[in-house]
């Protein structure tokens, strides 16, 4: 398509506000952050930073607390992403199949998504407190144990509660996404599969799944990024306790920057995570393509 001068100017003018906002609030901070990650940038060097090359990256990678936080994040992602997708897809198929109260079901499953993270986290915390609702139920109502169980006080206990919250909150989003995808699978394919004698499971594996493959991939990439973005729930439920054992990468990044003043460290950490996420996304796309 050939553009004349006038329309080129028009395009430029229309693009300018968007580009400016993107440039000032997204592109510039990223570049600046990348720059910061090579400097000794903390309280002591506030007015005059020294270039230290890859020292920040080395410090991050040799930090035991970072490794704990990274492992926690990885486990969180590996558990919550498939769980959300499987449960979300299941709910989508069920909701898709019912003929009555469709909207009611959709709203019910979507409610956790629009609930505030802060409120949901605090409620989960109250439920799982040592003196909380769940322990009250276990000891005083159904009497399975006489001692209160310390759900939140260990590394994996605290992480498990955060994961449970993540899954509970994520099902609704997956349901909506998959529900939309299910509508796009042509009904004729199901009909011809029936004629070929396929059962429900076979239809699901050979018709539904290939039909929604693109959506599955989309959900996988978005949720993986989301899993690495977990912050509010762990911050409010355990706040890294005991002794930074339940820290995730973002809470640790925040802690180092705003409690310890190690801005260079946190900048390097954010680029390490970005790098890991980029590799993960590429791998996920490759895997899905090979299956074709």
């Amino acid at each position: 398509m050939k553009l004349n001068r006038e329309s080129k100017i028009q395009i430029g003018v229309l693009l300018l506000p968007g580009l400016l906002v993107f440039g000032i609030f997204t592109f510039y901070p990223i570049v600046r952050l990348f720059w910061m990650s090579f400097f000794k940038w903390d309280f002591g060097s506030f007015l005059n930073q020294d270039f230290i090359g890859l020292e920040n990256y080395r410090t991050v990678l040799s930090d035991r607390n970072f490794m704990t936080a990274f492992a926690n994040t990885l486990v969180y992602t590996i558990i919550t992403v498939p769980a959300q997708m499987i449960l979300g897809l299941l709910v989508a198929i069920l909701v898709n199949a019912v003929s009555r109260f469709k909207i009611g079901f959709r709203v019910a499953y979507y409610l956790p998504v629009i609930t505030s993270w802060v409120i949901a986290s605090l409620i989960f915390r109250y439920v799982f407190n040592t003196e909380g609702l769940l322990n009250y139920f276990l000891t005083n109502v159904i009497h399975v144990t006489s001692q209160n169980i310390h759900w939140l006080d260990s590394r994996w206990g605290g992480m498990a509660v955060a994961m449970l919250l993540g899954i509970w909150k994520g099902i609704g989003w997956n349901m909506v996404v998959f529900l939309a995808a299910l509508q796009t699978v042509p009904l004729e394919l199901y009909e011809s599969a029936s004629l070929d004698g396929a059962g429900g499971w076979q239809k699901f594996v050979h018709v539904t799944l290939p039909g929604i493959k693109g959506t599955v991939l989309f959900a996988l990439v978005m949720l993986t990024i989301g899993g690495f973005n977990v912050y509010t729930s762990t911050k409010l439920i355990t706040d890294g306790k005991p002794g930074h054992d339940t820290e995730v990468v973002l809470t640790w990044m925040y802690y180092k920057a705003f409690s310890n003043g190690k801005f260079g460290y946190s900048a390097a950490l954010s680029f390490i995570i970005a790098f890991v996420l980029a590799i993960l996304a590429v791998v996920q796309f490759k895997l899905m393509q090979n299956k074709e």
């Binding site: 600046r32 002591g44 007015l47 939140l152 005991p242 930074h244 920057a257 996420l277």
Partner: protein
Amino acid sequence: MKERKKILAILLTTVTCVAAMCGCGKSPVNSASDSESQETATVTDSEEPAEEVTINFWHHYSAQSPENATLTEVLIPKFEEENPGITVNAVSHEWADLHDKLLISAESDTLPDVARLDSAWVPEFQKMGILVPLNKEMSDFGEVSDSLLESAMTTAEIGGDQYGLALNTNTKILYYNVEMFEEAELSVPETMDEFAEACRILSGTKENGQQVWGYDEPALSGWNLCPFIWSMGGAITNEEQTQASGYLNSPQTVAAIQMFADLYKEGAITGWNSGDIPMTDGFGTGRYAMLLEGPWKVSEMAGAYPDFDYATAPVPAGEGGSLSVLGGEDISMFQSAHKDAAWKFMKFMTSAFAQEEMAKCGQIPCNKEALESDTVKEADFAPYIEQLDHAKSRPTVASWSEIDSELSVAATAVVNGEKTAQEAMDELAAKVDALLAE
């Protein structure tokens, strides 16, 4: 080609997402030239004529508080009347905002003249080089300093120089549940041994099956552990604040940490776990028998549990005596200030008159004369005054927040039985040595 574009798109998206989540921080942005321009600004500022000066005072008395009313309606008018030509522009910030705003102002060279700083911030700002060493630049510093409480003044003392005046102070003392002590026929613990014994006796399971604990400590950081470490004769660092080995892993410090671990194992104390009952509720409902807390607890208890019967006592004494930890605020001057006017205002704010007025709103004075006044003697915080003579500030080093975090990690490992107290403190001392050397 198409595939490559796709990969590029994914890369861009992920980078954008990650950057979006870390980009929201207010990171310090600065260049070397700014510090030079700041110095030149300082020179021109101080050469300005002294007749008409406006000084900016940033503080974190909340806008609706009686403290702020006293400041703007009583103190500042009085100061301006006594010092014609000087106008004070007081700006109220949220506590957490003030810290960040000062960091940002430092980089954009728009700092106020004077600020009320949480004493924990002073070392950070000192290391940034934006605070005025008062003892070096103010000729009458000695007189002013002598009129203020020595213990509180140490919160702004770094490397032998004084980077602020103690404005108001607080410390922690022992709170105990009177009824629980009477039922157990116990007297209030005066020594650390009696304290540990009381924790053991007062803990256990009540008739209704509820567990109770002798003592509650809501975290294991320096604010929480220092009273025990110091009172039992231990220390975090040497006097010069340059070395931790031999202090942080001394037998006395190790014994203090070990006492916590033992009592926790026996179910006699708790509080720092994520799932534990919050302090005020646990104390008010009789689940925790003792606490170490500051003067703010009085109004909290009055609000939440007005009928609850409790009393206070000094921190139990050990080998090192009865030593508590200091909190509170300092008033400091920035390098870019109108120094003469700012110093006059700082002297006024720490004068007996201003301090007594603030004491009426519950601020514990640092001025010795104000401490002797009737206002103070009749105030809720009277029990704290005695402990203030036996209280120390946490190390005034810029790396304190990191040291503090490492300390709580080490103490957590000990109470959870992952390490012995000696092992954990030896490792910690080596780490803290490195942090102090930075």
